[in-house]
């Protein structure tokens, strides 16, 4: 037996093998391999190109998205528009500003029939006796002597008495009674003596003179306080005075005058 070293082979066996093993690669196999080698070189370039497709697309999307958001913020900041649209889909601020300009009292003279009513007619004022007694309910009930002058519509009469009754309940009796009962000459003195407290029930008389939006906000306050009838009455007066007025969707959106 031959002893083989690390690099030694049995020469006789090796020679026999090399003599008997003379096969070669078939030509079609050669062609296939060489074709693949040539196409592999071309495909390699495109493989390397397309391997970057996905990360490039992701990076491009990211950059586009960030730039879009950034640009939108700049545009919205410059125009002053809110970042998000209103709930009802309409940005009413422009309309509110437009309406306010239209109803600016300082630039327009109101028609005579829209003059605010600050004092009830004399026939509706309570008598001094009623005022002193503190009977607010009876003070604001329509006197029978006057009732005949009122329209015979029962519904309107009931509504009017209801509104007056609610107003009387809300206000302090002496102050209101004094204001309504005292004659015109004593009105100033009555107001001084029976001036309503600062934190009295909301009254839209001041708001009527400011602007329709202030009046409207006052109406909302009345409504939220539970004075629906009074609020409706005020609303009717507002519409009568400002027929083109359009209520904003919420009080927060009404411009502050």
């Amino acid at each position: 037996m031959n002893k083989l070293t690390d690099n030694e082979r049995d020469e006789s066996v090796g020679k026999a093998y090399r003599a008997f093993s003379t096969e070669t690669v078939p030509d079609d196999v050669n062609r296939r391999v060489l074709r693949e080698a040539a196409s592999g070189e071309q495909a390699g370039f495109w493989q390397r190109f397309y391997s970057w497709r996905r990360p490039l697309a992701f990076a491009a999307t990211l950059v586009l998205g960030i730039s879009l958001v950034y640009d939108m913020q700049i545009v919205l900041r410059d125009t002053g528009a809110p970042l998000l649209p209103a709930v009802d889909g309409a940005n009413r601020e422009d309309e509110l500003l437009e309406n306010e300009a239209r109803y600016d009292d300082s630039t327009r003279t109101l028609p005579a029939e829209a003059a605010p009513v600050t004092q009830a007619p004399a026939r509706f004022r309570a008598s001094p006796d009623q005022a002193a007694s503190g009977n607010t309910a009876s003070k604001f009930s329509v006197p029978s002597s006057v009732e005949a002058d009122l329209p015979q519509d029962t519904e309107q009469r009931e509504e009017r008495s209801r509104s007056h009754e609610q107003l009387g309940k809300r206000q302090s009796a002496p102050a209101v009674s004094a204001e309504r009962a005292a004659p015109t000459a004593d009105a100033a003195e009555a107001r001084t003596m029976y001036a309503p407290p600062q934190q009295a029930q909301p009254d839209c008389s001041d708001a009527r003179d400011e602007s329709p939006y202030a009046w409207w906000r006052c109406i909302q306050v009345l409504r939220s306080a539970g004075h629906a009838a009074l609020a409706d009455d005020e609303w009717q007066q507002l519409l009568k005075r400002y027929p083109d007025f359009r209520a904003p969707p919420s009080p927060d959106q009404a411009p502050r005058c």
């Binding site: 690390d6 006789s12 003599a19 080698a37």
Partner: protein, 227 residues
């Protein structure tokens, strides 16, 4: 060996050993010479896009690799499939090729692993020769010589086919790839002593099955050129 070193060493060749030539003349002479590049240099060139380099490399090793796979599988179709599979892997991994070892070792390691995978997939290919090319007579021999040669070949190849897979593999790596025992151990993933013993057993068995008649045929075929 670094990539640039492999390229520079392979290009220098024998022209560096001509001191009689001046440097410009040596360079001009070198340009006229066809200096064979090393396998690793050819593979690196192919990785850079030189398809002709791959063809040169392929022509050097295609037949030996094919015979290696043919003897392992004993089936021409399986050998052709594995052959294409091995070169396909070489082609696809060209960008990751690093000349840390001989290209021959790398090539036959890939082939060995492909054969192992093939064994696991389908052992039918190895159970018997579907088409044994050795049974076909050579075209250059006469009728009597064809018979003797055919018989001798049959005996040898049968003995080779009867070897265990590991021993046959080791013997073929030694003969077809020209690998040393250490390189065979690296290619097959076994210790050096294991590879050495496998090779010894394979050679001994083949030698034993060789008859005196086969030995005489070997002497007559010593001058035969391998195509």
């Amino acid at each position: 060996m670094t990539r640039s070193a492999a390229l520079s060493v392979s290009v220098c060749g024998s022209t560096c050993d001509k001191p009689s030539l001046s440097p410009p003349a040596a360079l001009a002479y070198a340009r006229t010479m066809v200096v064979p590049l090393e396998d690793s240099a050819l593979m690196l060139r192919y990785a850079e896009g030189d398809v002709a380099a791959f063809e040169t490399l392929y022509r050097r090793h295609n037949d030996s690799l094919y015979r290696y796979l043919l003897r392992l599988t004993n089936n021409r179709d399986a050998a052709a499939d594995l052959f294409q599979e091995v070169w396909s892997k070489i082609i696809k991994s060209r960008d990751r090729y690093r000349p840390t070892a001989k290209f021959n070792t790398y090539l036959f390691r890939v082939a060995h692993n492909a054969f192992i995978d093939h064994l696991r997939r389908n052992k039918r290919y190895c159970d018997g020769p579907a088409d044994d090319p050795d049974l076909r007579a050579s075209e250059v021999d006469g009728p009597d010589q064809q018979t003797e040669r055919l018989i001798a070949r049959q005996r040898f190849m049968q003995a080779l086919a009867l070897l265990p897979d590991e021993q046959r593999d080791t013997f073929l790596l030694s003969e077809e790839a020209g690998l040393t025992v250490e390189q065979i151990a690296t290619a097959t993933g076994v210790p050096k002593e294991t590879a050495k013993s496998r090779l010894r057993y394979a050679v001994n068995k083949l030698r034993e099955t060789m008859s005196a008649e086969l030995a005489q045929d070997n002497d007559a075929l010593q001058s035969t050129q391998r195509p």
